[in-house]
């Protein structure tokens, strides 16, 4: 299969075959039931432990749909996905196991507006990981300190700026101590002056060795932080390269066209 050989090429060029595979997606197809739209048309991607992969591509190309299959927010009809060695089937047990290991940060933050910042961060550890409340709060406070919003712990999301809300959302996902973090355009809904604080948080997370898949159009972030950049267009991964090669020496016309639009 084309997708599989592409993955193999990348592994060879990166010489990472010895590293643990955290996400393996093989020839994933998805049709939206409502309109028979073939949104993912055979996508393959392997992400190894500690790797940061940036996904770029025009709007509507299926980036969100693709990364949302990793934590089963989207179903798919054909192909295989395994996350941290767990095969993603339609079995609910697996879904629960996978969601515990995968944190996700959304474009619109999706904080729970009726809960305080601290409650947002401790809810899942207490009820899903079954942590003691005091323990969960201690971890939450550490994370909030790490993302720089410790003083806001008792406030409600509506009282925070967009950048602060997104950092709370990152802390909330980290509180579950995931092995993988997915970011779906985490800075697209932010005012320009707040983009940096969120990217800085993501960068320090990457430096700590978190496995990350980020849909973002922040070229600076991709150049400095990503191990690999992939371009998605019309439901296919058309280019996969190290950031330097991706931005300076793109192989595919589709990539060149896309880069000419965003650079």
């Amino acid at each position: 299969m084309a997708g599989q050989s592409l993955t193999k090429d990348i592994q060879d060029t990166n010489n990472v075959t010895d590293r643990e595979e955290m996400i393996v997606a093989r020839d994933v197809h998805k049709w939206y039931a409502s309109n028979e739209f073939h949104v993912l048309r055979g996508v393959s991607l392997t992400v190894t432990k500690g790797e940061v992969v940036v996904v770029m591509g025009p709007s509507g190309s299926g980036k969100s749909t693709f990364i949302r299959t990793f934590n089963a927010l989207e179903e798919y009809q054909k192909g295989q996905i395994s996350v941290d060695g767990i095969e993603l089937s339609h079995d609910l047990k697996n879904i629960d196991a996978i969601r515990k290991e995968v944190g996700m940060v959304f474009q619109q933050f999706n904080l729970f507006p009726h809960l305080t910042v601290l409650q947002n961060v401790t809810l899942a550890p207490i009820w899903v990981r079954r942590r003691k409340k005091a323990e969960a709060e201690a971890i939450a406070m550490q994370l909030l300190e790490k993302v720089g919003i410790l003083e806001q712990a008792k406030k409600f999301p509506g009282q925070l700026s967009g950048g602060q809300q997104q950092r709370v959302a990152i802390a909330r996902a980290l509180a579950m101590q995931p092995k993988i973090m997915l970011f779906d355009e985490p800075t697209s809904a932010l005012d320009p002056e707040m983009v940096k604080e969120v990217l800085d948080t993501m960068r320090s997370l990457a430096r700590e060795g978190m496995t990350m898949v980020c849909v973002t159009h922040e070229v600076g972030f991709a150049e400095n932080v990503a191990d690999r950049v992939v371009l998605m267009a019309d439901g296919l991964l058309v280019e996969e390269a190290k950031p330097d090669a991706f931005f300076n020496n793109p192989q595919h016309d589709r990539t060149k066209q896309f880069l000419s639009q965003i650079l």
Binding site: L73, V102, F106, N110, Q119, A124, W127, K155, F156, Q159
Partner: protein
């Protein structure tokens, strides 16, 4: 401090200081200019004065208020045996003390518990109790209860400030008060038994309304969720229930409960008539409540459930911690509106012969001694209902403000 009780998210922001204008200026500006505004003002004020004058003339010269004090026990408790009244007074005191304590605990962070509005409210309540045509002893009793309420609230605030975790236990304590109340009213377990046929008046109205409200709420939540369910059978059943109940007038449901159930079931197996009334009211209200809550559920953005899923919360946890609290918060005004109409709908039971507040008034008016006193009695009824409904709507506004629905 770390519980999931909603707190006022914005305690530090006070509203901007109002610009002071003199009352005369305000009247000139808002009521008297331009000329047609002045005309409308005069016409409306004229109508009010005319009607008010007519009412006062009637109330102080023609009306014969003796009908109220003469039947006060009937209005309050129906045909409840007079030697057991003390039980109702004990219950009333317990309720008042608990209301005060709950209020104090909920408002533990408020600096001035007895704000100007609260003081005015208490003063008006005391004033009304003095205007009411009731014996002096009762006036003093009402004022005593008001004082008890204030003391309990003051104490509750002190306790609440010391032990902030107490807020969680208010609901369960009210449930206990409820059980104690039913025991005090109905007897048994060492107290003289009083059958429901002797319950009546305002006591019965409040009892039926509060039990129905407490029951219809969870049932409404369940049907609202059922209607959104992916399971076809659950969904169909919920839709059928909601649509059938909403298609039947309440009075028909109550008639079925009071008149038809006895035809089907043999003597001894029939549920008690007060119970039948409560079941009818509950079934009816829960269908409307389910629709209100469904409206709230639809207002929750999809991102909320997605975020919950991504965190690994399963559907029951997502519904109880994320979806339902926000849905209910969004429709509090509609829910309280439903509760208020439920309270007033209890009056329909007077038609099927249950002697609640309005029903007992019909019995009083049927007494030849009080022939033609319907204006006085109905006015008294209206006042009674208004006090409770106004209290509910004030409570709803208070809760809304605390939960800060608008943000």
């Amino acid at each position: 401090m770390t519980t999931i009780t909603p707190q006022n998210p914005n305690p530090n922001l006070s509203p901007p200081a109002e610009i002071q204008i003199s009352p005369i200026n305000w009247v000139m500006k808002n009521l008297l200019t331009p000329w047609y505004n002045a005309l409308i003002t005069f016409i409306i004020v004229g109508i009010f004065c005319y009607a008010g004058y007519g009412f006062c003339v009637w109330a102080f010269t023609e009306a014969q208020w003796t009908v109220i004090p003469a039947n006060l026990h009937l209005f309050g408790a129906g045909r409840y045996p007079s030697e057991e009244y003390w039980r109702l007074w004990v219950l009333l005191s317990i309720i008042v003390i608990f209301s005060g304590i709950s209020w104090g605990i909920v408002a533990r962070n408020v600096t001035h518990l007895f704000s100007r509005n609260v003081l005015i409210g208490l003063a008006i309540a005391a004033l009304i109790s003095f205007i009411l045509p009731i014996p002096l002893l009762y006036k003093l009793a009402i004022i005593g209860l008001l004082i008890l309420l204030s003391l309990a609230a003051w104490g509750g605030q002190k306790i609440g400030a010391k032990m902030p975790g107490l807020g969680q236990y208010i609901a369960i304590n009210w449930f206990l008060v409820y059980l104690i109340g039913l025991w005090l009213i109905g007897g048994g377990l060492g107290l003289e038994e009083v059958t429901t046929s002797k319950w009546g008046g305002l006591m019965l109205t409040v009892l039926m309304a509060t039990i129905s409200i407490a029951l219809c709420f969870p049932i409404g939540v369940i049907f609202a969720l059922g209607r959104q369910s992916n399971l076809p059978v659950v969904k169909l059943f919920s839709v059928l229930y909601i649509e059938i109940i909403r298609g039947i007038p309440l009075i028909a449901i109550l008639f079925m409960g009071q008149v038809m159930i006895p035809l089907f079931l043999p003597e001894g197996m029939r549920p008690d008539r007060v119970l039948r009334a409560i079941i009818g009211l509950t079934l009816f209200s829960s269908a409307y409540l389910a629709e209100n809550i469904r409206g709230g559920l639809q207002a929750i953005p999809r991102g909320q459930t997605e975020a919950a899923k991504a965190l690994g919360l399963n559907p029951p946890l997502t519904v109880s911690f994320i979806v339902m609290p926000q849905a209910i918060k969004a429709v509090i005004p509609a829910i309280v509106g439903q509760f208020i109409s439920l309270f007033q709908d209890t009056t329909l039971l007077s038609i099927v012969g249950v002697e609640e507040f309005l029903g007992i008034s019909r019995s009083v008016l049927a007494n030849p001694n009080f022939l033609g006193r319907s204006s006085e009695v109905l006015l008294f009824n209206a006042l009674g209902f208004w006090v409770f409904c106004y209290a509910m709507s004030t409570g709803s506004k208070y809760i809304e403000k605390r939960l800060n629905v608008e943000h």
